[in-house]
Subunit: 163 residues, 2 copies
Amino acid sequence: MKHKDFDHINCSLAQTLSVIGEHWTLLIIRDVFMGLRRFGELQKDLGIAKNILSERLKRLVAEQILEKEKGESGFYEYRLTEKGLALQPILLACVHWGDNYRPSANGARVVFVDRKDYLPIQAMSVRSHDGRLLNPKDIRAKRGPGFSSDNSDTPLQSWTTAD
Amino acid sequence: MKHKDFDHINCSLAQTLSVIGEHWTLLIIRDVFMGLRRFGELQKDLGIAKNILSERLKRLVAEQILEKEKGESGFYEYRLTEKGLALQPILLACVHWGDNYRPSANGARVVFVDRKDYLPIQAMSVRSHDGRLLNPKDIRAKRGPGFSSDNSDTPLQSWTTAD
């Protein structure tokens, strides 16, 4: 099955893509973040084939990213679990990159603000342990104990140095 | 063509997924971040079919995420452009989610550290304008001028409130 493709790769990025990397999945998750709860609402908003939506939702429930339960209306509703809510930095990092590199000609499409003061949140960025903003070439990768010998060829000394 | 699927959706997430959402693409980008430069190196590391790798690389060059040029060795080499380097927060957000929710039994696979002090970077997280850590339900979405009437049905008042 396609969604198992990256399960064997011992890499946290590949593992994440195994769960959320399928076509449509992040847009479905976006819609649930935005407050859409029902199959029909999601289907209408995304214009996605019912069988694909059904399959994606089933997988997200199986992965405990979404919970499915009958709402007060009698319809089944999907809600994000804690594991699902924890995907927010991924979605926002994608949104901010899209804002910068695939902008709308009319300006920002959506701005995310802090509920407390209604000011825009910071752009998703890489920070040192003490909060300094780090540029892409300021960091490097170090092998941890979970780094298997399977992919020992990967040149971990790098992570954007090279130049 | 499949990669055009989300181009019509006026959403920065969908626009980003139009560029990097294809199967294998983020893993190819990961490998270039890690220092792999040549077609053969990428193909060997990923175990990917040559025609798929070739198509993905062509697209990434067309999108100005990678630059292709002849290296000193005489082989063509791929390097990240500024637009490509700007994908780093997306990759790291995926890595950190995978670290938490799809961990290796043996511990961290890879740890990203600041080159300056070799201490691990912060987990990718959402911050207010003045640097406060925000939880998923602490933010909301506001329409900007680029939000078209096409998707005015999307209930932007939310972004994980609902409960």
